[in-house]
């Protein structure tokens, strides 16, 4: 690509959308508000777009900011079932996503372990949501699960880019090499960011962002517990166990003991220790501490799960799932989430019951409800 083009693309911040003849905003508006004929044409344009990224960006925009039901578009209507694809980014960056397709639904094993792990992890997460909560993929309508492996060079991260899961290889200095696709709870964590995007839409900064993180940890951990058949008592309540290099520590986060997962873990377990970091774009501040203060709602879920006992994806998971999908909005804070879970417990299992009381008590214990 021409150097100048590349620079211009970076300036506009939405690289692939720039290649569109119609501005994506306009296309989205037509698909949303246009006359029926125009709508159909706009939707066909979105669906036929060569770039998966563009397609996802548009659909995300319509669903998140315009309240359009993704199912209404019928874009992914055909296979309301598991639909996985894995791409190899071959060490490229954002502009190279998704990369080269290397395995799609039903294909035989790849020779690449990361490809197979990403494929299998997407399956475990899909089955968890389908079997336990009758949810058909992240959007509830069979959203295809796309995983992109080998992102960047020795890249120490995995993230949800708004439409795809992206995995680095790990440098061997922070994350162990090849470990990021190995942890099933990390895959569940990333895909739950997708579920949140299509439901509560929790904004990714400060308390709403910490809740976004916490729901990903809760359901990421539940994916692991469900796949292992572990009760709340048997579970390790760790996120990403064994994927950091040994010198750093045993896991990324501990839901039972926030702040004790690794050397330098600064997660609080109580509102008294809430870390009020600036909500700015300084990389040191983690969008206002989204991965830090998530320790507080994480601990609340752990307390509920162990108080109720048994399989945590059942009663506690049902309460948290109803809260995430029906009771929150993009700016909900800790208190709103706490009150919503109490209301969900009463709705699902009866007002004044042991479930409602366990939820109320857990939030009191972490200092969110008084």
């Amino acid at each position: 690509m021409h150097r100048l083009d590349r620079r211009l693309m970076h300036r506009c911040g939405l690289p692939r959308e720039c290649c569109f003849i119609l501005p994506p905003d306009l296309l989205a508006r037509i698909a949303d508000e246009g006359r029926e004929g125009q709508r159909q044409a706009a939707i066909r344009t979105i669906a036929a777009s060569a770039s998966i990224r563009t397609r996802r960006a548009l659909i995300t925009q319509l669903v998140r900011f315009r309240g359009v039901d993704p199912a209404a578009f019928g874009l992914f209507a055909a296979p309301r079932a598991l639909n996985r694809t894995v791409y190899d980014v071959d060490h490229g960056g954002w502009n190279d996503l998704p990369g080269r397709q290397v395995r799609s639904e039903g294909d035989a094993l790849s020779h690449d372990d990361n490809v197979n792990e990403a494929y299998d992890g997407a399956d475990s997460t899909y089955r968890f949501y389908k079997d336990v909560y009758d949810r058909d993929s992240v959007d509830g309508s069979g959203f295809p699960l796309i995983s992109c492996v080998h992102f960047g060079v020795d890249f120490d991260n995995a993230f949800w880019d708004g439409g795809e899961m992206v995995y680095g290889d790990g440098s061997g200095q922070i994350f162990q090499r090849g470990s990021l696709t190995r942890a099933i709870d990390v895959i569940g964590h990333e895909l739950t960011h997708g579920v949140t995007q299509y439901t509560a839409g929790l904004e990714y900064h400060a308390q709403s962002g910490a809740l976004n993180e916490s729901f990903s940890d809760v359901f990421g951990s539940l994916v692991k517990q469900y796949s292992r058949g572990q009760t709340a008592e048997d579970a390790d309540w760790l996120i990403g166990e064994g994927i950091l290099v040994a010198e750093l520590g045993q896991a990324l986060r501990s839901m039972s003991n926030p702040g004790e997962a690794f050397e330098g873990d600064s997660q609080p377990a109580h509102m008294d220790d809430y870390l009020d970091l600036p909500d700015d774009n300084d990389p040191r501040n983690d969008n206002g501490g989204v991965h830090i203060n998530s320790g507080i709602p994480n601990k609340a879920f752990y307390l509920v799960a162990t108080a109720i006992g048994g399989n945590a994806w059942e009663v506690p998971g049902q309460i948290w799932y109803q809260t995430l999908t029906q009771r929150l909005d993009p700016t909900s804070n800790f208190r709103a989430a706490a009150e919503a879970t109490v209301a969900a417990a009463a709705d699902l299992f009866g007002a004044g019951g042991t479930e409602e009381r366990a939820v109320q008590r857990a939030w009191e214990e972490v200092g969110v409800l008084g």
Partner: protein
């Protein structure tokens, strides 16, 4: 000619903040020249605030500081807005054994 590159990486799945530094003095002559070339080949102007777009979940964010004989330039990006020449510069820095890396405590 003294050139020092500092990269602060934050956010990401782990929420860790990591700082990596590499000074041209620490490098053999050929590699020091390469560092200069890579820095000169990247674009350092533009509004840092505008480029640090709101992050996607677990997306990493970057602060890159270039100290060129005491003249300092600081730019910020997210994974999404990170220009390709700077991404390659960071990958090159990560491959150098002379770099110093630490996890920034809170």
């Amino acid at each position: 000619m003294s050139l020092k590159l500092t990269v602060v990486r934050g956010g990401g799945l782990a929420g860790l903040t990591r700082q990596t530094e590499l000074a041209s003095e620490a490098l053999p002559a050929g590699e020091a020249a390469e560092l200069h070339e890579l820095v000169e080949g990247a674009e350092w102007s533009g509004e840092a605030e505008a480029r640090a777009a709101p992050a996607n979940p677990d997306e990493m964010s970057y602060e890159v500081i270039v100290d060129d004989c005491g003249r300092t330039t600081t730019v910020r990006f997210t994974e999404q807005t990170l220009p390709e020449p700077i991404r390659l510069l960071i990958a090159w820095m990560d491959s150098r054994p002379e770099r110093r890396q630490s996890i920034v405590p809170r």
